[in-house]
Symmetry: C2
Subunit: 420 residues, 2 copies
């Protein structure tokens, strides 16, 4: 593993190269970017053997260092995963190009013609963890939106990421774009991550993709603008008037289909008047899930363990579900206000005014009525491949498609107008 | 001047009250907010005498403390200024309400109905300097957009701001909105400003309105999301084919009409082939302006002093103008890329391809062709009263109207859909 000798200095030098490459990507035509992406996809597919060799060396090191089995799984590549990465690039290539879109335009009384147009951000920095596919996914989304990608992956995945990035850069070069427009930091230390967050003037937008400690480090140390792709402590509230069959179906889907992702449900809130009927039914539908409940739940579901305050505040990302009986809508909204992370919150109800109040009063990136929280995803919502799901309120909120990687510019055209 | 004894603790307590008030403002109807704003305008007008007495005590203190004349001027109120503040609130009241606007909406193949809707940010924090009118301007924009306003003005203006805020809060209360939804921090120390920037979980968006040192402090210390309303080191490039009469007119307007504002021009770049003709003409049109030029400029305009690197990098905000002769478009774009602050940049030309290249290659919030930089302003561009002009790329760029004080929420309505 190559380590940068003088981290801030070497990183700034590298950042300078990425910065210089950015205007050339920004000005590339939509066609040139599509060509580059299809060469990138081709390059990955052709380089699969080399990438797998590099990945093996990461895996050997990971086992030697005693990484957890889940982490090793996320780190591992095989031919299917590489061809998935390659297809992912082609899917991004096929999306509509966001650059140049005029989002509003009008002519003022004095004849000035005004328009607001989408333009690339410039350099997008991504700090991510062990999954090597993020290298190609993020690179593809950045290039498609006219940005240079500055990538800082984990040290565990450094050989894999280096091999992937080498093939991507070769393709960029073949397409006539600067190879520095996808640049991987050759060092996965915590020191580099911290220095990376402070590259003011080099990085236009930082997207950290990782756990709470990374997010907290960004909030504390970053001097570059960033978008938080934060935790999803998602709730489903089963109201008095809910269709109980559909409710169980939705909860099973939201918990079991893919428990490790941010839009899976972590706590179910059940209206007291249906608790006696619904809880045993829910219990029977979730045999593989550990249930943690309040006293009212435990009175009905004997296998449920006692839920703590900590459980209500936790994104389990696992086959664990907290369950709580609430007095009604107000109680449910208050619980979500206290423990929610502003990701995705659902109500299951047939009461029109309850649905309306939930939608209006719950403060989250996405609120759902009678649907699984698992739909809160860029692809599912028709935005195309996503760079993440923002849990902040500024710039982008919820699933972020390509337009989240752009900014806007006012273009004002006149014939000599001056301000009176 | 009241000083908070335990700054972070007392501030957090105050922030808690503002936080709790925010959902009530967010859910107020457009009519209720309009009523509140008109009561606020009325309250200021009726309270003018009291406000002027408070302002006198600030002015006495300011003179005793030896504040500069410009600062004292910004601090001072009179009846006309107070009635201007009151009218400003009514103008904000009359703007279209941004809350509830559906920015996109569609139905997915599986029947899920998706819409994205504008919702208030929650609590908007503003740190500002001596002008007491910001207290009412910011409060009005926040309330109109459904946000609570948490205001931290300067210590010099504390008595004035306190008097203004008291009248605003009384009006809010009369309108049935919580008086804490406009809250002034009763302390203008630097310590409060720093603690204010770190109120994570209480402030949804911080807008610092002040000089470079405030902006730098925000970048270094803020843990809350913020929008930078930064410097405007604006350029006008006079191309070979420009109409020279119109060019002089535009430059005079952009420099002289109001030199102290961020969209005034600071450096003029002149194409070498027209320098001999244009520079003496420009000189004659700017008798009241100090010119700082490069050697080529000084060869023609003898009164011009030598421009330094520092001059090119400076937002003078004064009757001072840097002038430089450039080789042509590339040279002009490179100069702007090096010294510009990404605010407003103009080209004066009759060459179609030069105008197109300038518009596309200059990276700024606003680019103008054949018009004065002074038009880059919310009111001038038809956005209504502005909360500031963003020089950052995320969330809002350029003049910020009411919609910059909102975020969006995905609302997803189904009939029991689960993800396959």
């Amino acid at each position: 593993m190559e380590i940068m000798p003088d981290v801030p200095g070497a990183l700034e030098e590298l950042a300078g190269l990425v910065r210089v490459s950015a205007p050339r990507v920004a000005r590339a035509s939509a066609q040139q970017k599509m060509d580059a992406l299809s060469l990138m996809a081709e390059g990955l597919a052709r380089g699969a053997d080399e990438i797998l060799v590099a990945n093996q060396s990461d895996l050997v090191r990971a086992r030697r260092d005693g990484l957890a089995e889940g982490q090793i799984d996320r780190l591992g590549l095989d031919e299917a995963r590489i061809s998935g990465m390659s297809e992912g690039i082609l899917e991004v290539a096929a999306l509509p190009d966001p650059v140049g879109e005029i989002t509003s335009g009008y002519t003022l009384a004095n004849g000035l013609r005004v328009r607001k147009q989408r333009v690339p951000l410039g350099v997008v920095g991504i700090i991510y963890e062990n999954r090597p596919n993020v290298t190609s996914d993020a690179a593809a989304l950045c290039i498609k939106s006219g940005n240079a990608a500055f990538l800082r992956g984990s040290s565990a995945a450094l050989s894999s990421n280096t091999a992937i990035a080498a093939h991507l850069c070769q393709a960029l070069s073949k397409a006539g774009l600067p190879r520095e427009s996808v640049t991987l930091v050759p060092d996965g230390s915590r020191e580099t991550a911290t220095a990376f967050m402070k590259l003011s003037g080099y990085i236009d937008c930082l997207i950290p993709r990782g756990g709470i400690s990374l997010i907290e480090a960004v909030r504390q140390h970053a001097t570059v603008p960033y978008i938080i792709d934060g935790e999803g402590n998602c709730h489903i509230y089963v109201d008095e008037s809910a269709d109980l069959d559909a409710a169980a179906e939705i909860i099973v889907n939201a918990k079991v289909q893919r428990p490790s992702v941010c839009n899976s449900v972590e706590t179910v809130l059940v209206h007291q008047s249906i608790a006696a009927e619904f809880l045993p039914f829910l219990d029977s539908r979730l045999p593989q899930v550990e249930l943690r409940g309040d006293p009212a739940v435990r009175a009905t579901i004997v296998r449920a363990v006692a839920a703590t305050e900590h459980d209500y505040a936790t994104e389990f990302l696992d086959l664990i579900l907290a369950v709580k009986v609430v007095d009604g809508l107000d109680d449910a909204i208050a619980h979500i206000g206290k423990y929610g992370t502003g990701h995705s919150e659902a109500i299951l109800t047939n009461d029109y005014s309850h649905a309306s109040r939930f939608v209006s009063e719950v403060d989250a990136a996405a609120v759902l009525v009678n649907a699984s929280t698992r739909f809160v995803d860029g692809n599912q919502l028709g935005l195309g491949a996503e760079i993440g799901i923002s849990t902040q309120k500024l710039h982008a909120r919820g699933p972020m498609g390509l337009s989240a990687l752009t900014t806007e510019k006012f273009i004002i055209e006149g014939t000599g107008q001056i301000r009176p």
